[in-house]
């Protein structure tokens, strides 16, 4: 198929006059940011409130807890509220290691990817994006992507300190983490904004098309310290 490649690139070049790609080279190396919506221009504490408002706006549910110690109870309470068996599939993610799961002996916890037989998954997030209430997750040995899509219920543990203003802030964090191979992303980066939905039957919006029917976020208020609600978030 190298013939097609030469043909296509040849045709494109033919349509161009003088070929000078310095502007493109510069763009790839400087990666200029575009307009970031001013709604994200908030103090850290208020930004977390914006994240919660936005996440709820897209039909995710959010439970704010004080510390990692409270997560097992929060998860158990969610399962009970949904009439679900007390059983979760947990991502083998070190971010979830400080959560004392054995505090709830009746909560059955197994760890690993899923083949579709698990009803509820619990994963960690890489970041929360306040702009639209989106969760940013990425694949890796500790964070199988199957957990984000196959179970009926996806529970995500997010820390307030992980909430970022914009997608761009999320990308910068991820680039910093990938320093060993610059410009190389994990196999998958998922921005998840609310549960699975469809409007394909008469434009009626229904939850739970192919992915999770419910998206539940357990938000640990681990900081940012010293920013306890200085100004009230008054909607966008």
């Amino acid at each position: 198929m190298s013939d097609a490649r030469a043909e296509i690139l040849g045709k494109i070049r033919q349509s161009r006059g003088v070929i000078d790609d310095s502007a493109a080279e510069a763009r790839l190396s400087t990666r200029p940011r575009g307009i970031i919506p001013a709604r994200t221009d908030k103090a850290p504490g208020v930004l977390v409130d914006l994240f919660v408002t936005q996440a709820e706006f897209v039909d995710a549910s959010v439970d704010r807890v004080a510390s990692a110690d409270d997560v097992p109870d929060a998860v158990a309470a969610y399962l009970a509220s949904q009439n679900l068996p007390s059983e979760v599939r947990l991502a083998p993610d070190t971010q979830l290691d400080d959560i004392p799961w054995d505090q709830r002996p009746t909560l059955l916890v197994s760890r690993g990817k899923t083949d579709g037989s698990h009803e509820v998954s619990v994963t960690a997030a890489f970041a929360g994006i306040a702009e639209t209430g989106s969760l940013m997750l990425h694949s890796g040995p500790e964070s199988p992507s199957t957990l984000n899509f196959l179970p009926d219920h996806h529970v995500v543990v997010l820390r307030a300190s992980q909430v970022r203003k914009s997608y761009e802030d999320g990308w910068d964090d991820l680039r910093r983490q990938m320093t060993s191979r610059p410009n190389t992303l994990p196999r998958t980066v998922n921005f998840i904004t609310g549960p699975s939905r469809t409007g394909d039957i008469e434009q009626k919006i229904l939850m739970g098309a192919h992915g999770p029917r419910r998206l539940h976020i357990v938000l640990i208020d681990d900081g940012p310290i010293g920013t306890s609600t200085p100004e009230k978030f008054d909607g966008i």
Partner: protein, 486 residues
């Protein structure tokens, strides 16, 4: 897919009397249109973001070969494969060959308009590979054996009773007396049936909303999560995309995403925006072991540098068709090929020829609503006008229309004669209108007068009135000079 674009007038006539279709189309204005306006209103920067989106696309098109090569290098570096296809036939062959490397029995498919463009499903089925559409709308129309009628809501023309009928026919393993009255029941059935298909598929094929040069990444945007299940469960993921989908950086892609969902469904962001880069890593526990990107040209490189280059900015949101008064009454199938509405009226003649699709640029009132909502500011009415011009130049316009336009042009170039002729014409029409002032039959416009009377002109011509009014009012020297030009 075989085009029926040349039969647009017949298709449109049939659509107008199709009750189920008219009922389905009636929901467009209250759904997509209102939702887009609300989403745009929630974001003060929306208009500026549209300008920026246009500029990013223009910059990319100005360096298209550079970015495509950068994208390719990055995909290969991450362990993936890039295949270039000049034509639809080449793309189909490449995909079938990849499927054969794993003896694929079934492939799941995320929504891809490029797959429709190259008629991939028929080709795979003919060659013993069963394609299964997984987007709910695509699945419904696959069962009904018809093409999509909208680029983001493929089954928007179908009412729920028709979905139930299709499910009763296709899902014979289920109780024939089960209830399928409610959309929720239909969705649950589709979810259950397709879940097994996802798990069983050998290959997953998706489209791509963007291909990122910086990182060698393909991006898909879905609400259902079907695109993700399509690409993470099988052994092989194939992303099929046309050349102009490439973007420079993650930042640029993010900027474009800010206008995409808002323009399409009125959501701030789709439920699932997924960035895929290469196959599973050595230490990953899930994901496909092979990652292929098929880059399709199919006529697009020829649009570069032409008067239709602006069309390559299109990010396939569907806003133009949601807001189009013509699409709103005839639906997508009347357009006769893959891309309907205003964007289809420009793209279809470009891709399959003005001889076949010449009617489409004429199926517009030029009201300009499409351009006013386009997130990348494509001047759609102007591009359609280019086609009308081309159609006229190539003598594809009917002889009577050509003669009429020729006659009009003759007079229009001779202002004095034009004035006299229109005065005479006005007089004649007044006589024809008689006492009622209505004309029931006109020789040159029989089609028009078959359904309504034409009102006879009541006063003098516009130009005569203009002159008369000027004469009454005192004239400044500026007015006088302007009149001289007239």
């Amino acid at each position: 897919m075989e085009s029926t674009s040349h039969r647009f007038p017949e298709n449109a006539r049939a659509a107008l009397t199709n009750e189920a279709l008219q009922s389905a189309l009636g929901k467009l204005e209250t759904g997509f249109v209102v939702n887009r306006a609300t989403a745009a209103g929630r974001l003060p920067e929306f208009e500026a973001l549209r300008d920026q989106a246009r500029d990013i696309k223009n910059h990319t098109l100005a360096h298209l070969d550079y970015y495509l090569e950068a994208f390719e290098a990055k995909v290969i570096e991450n362990g993936g494969h890039v295949h270039w296809a000049s034509t639809a036939a080449e793309a189909r062959q490449i995909i079938l060959d990849i499927c054969r490397t794993v003896d694929a029995k079934t492939v799941t498919k995320g929504k891809s308009m490029i797959a429709e463009e190259i008629a991939l499903n028929d080709y795979l089925a003919e060659n013993g590979v069963e394609p299964i559409e997984t987007d709910l709308g695509e699945y419904i129309i696959q069962l009904r054996d018809e093409p999509p009628s909208h680029i983001i809501a493929p089954a928007v023309h179908v009412i729920k009773e028709q979905v139930a009928e299709a499910f009763h026919v296709a899902h014979t393993h289920l109780d024939p007396n089960r209830s399928l009255e409610e959309p929720r029941e239909l969705l649950e059935e589709a979810r259950a049936v397709l879940r097994q298909k996802f798990l069983d598929a050998d290959v997953g094929i998706t489209g791509a909303n963007f291909l990122i040069a910086e990182t060698g990444t393909s991006v898909i945007v879905t609400n259902e999560g079907n695109g993700d299940l399509t690409q993470i469960l099988p052994k092989i993921h194939i992303a099929l995309a046309s050349l102009e989908k490439v973007t420079p950086t993650l930042e640029d892609t993010t900027s474009l995403l800010r206008v995409l969902a808002r323009s399409a469904t009125g959501q701030e962001f789709s439920s699932y925006t997924t960035f895929s880069t290469g196959p599973r890593r050595d230490d990953d526990v899930d994901g496909p072991s092979e990652y292929h990107v098929v880059l399709l040209d199919n006529g697009r490189s020829g649009m570069l540098g032409s008067e239709f280059q602006d069309m390559l900015r299109c990010i396939r949101c569907g806003a133009c068709m949601n807001h189009c008064p013509v699409y709103g009454v005839v639906g997508g199938h009347a357009y006769g090929w893959v891309y309907p509405g205003p964007m289809g009226a420009v793209l279809t003649p470009t891709l399959i020829g003005v001889e076949e699709a010449g009617h489409l640029p004429n199926a517009s009132t030029f009201c300009g609503r499409c351009e006013s909502v386009c997130p990348v500011r494509i001047p759609l009415p102007n591009l359609m006008r280019q086609y009308r011009k081309r159609e006229f130049e190539r003598k594809l316009v009917p002889a009577s229309t050509r003669a009429g336009l020729g006659l009009w042009a003759f007079f229009a170039r001779r202002p004095a004669l034009y004035r006299v002729a229109t005065e005479i014409m006005g007089l004649m029409l007044r006589v024809m209108g008689g006492k009622r002032g209505r004309i029931g039959w006109l020789p040159a416009a029989r089609g028009w007068t078959a359904h309504r009377d034409m009102p006879a002109p009541t006063g003098r011509t516009f130009q005569a009135q203009w002159v008369a009014r000027r004469a009454v009012r005192p004239q400044s020297s500026k007015d006088a000079s302007r009149r001289a030009k007239l």
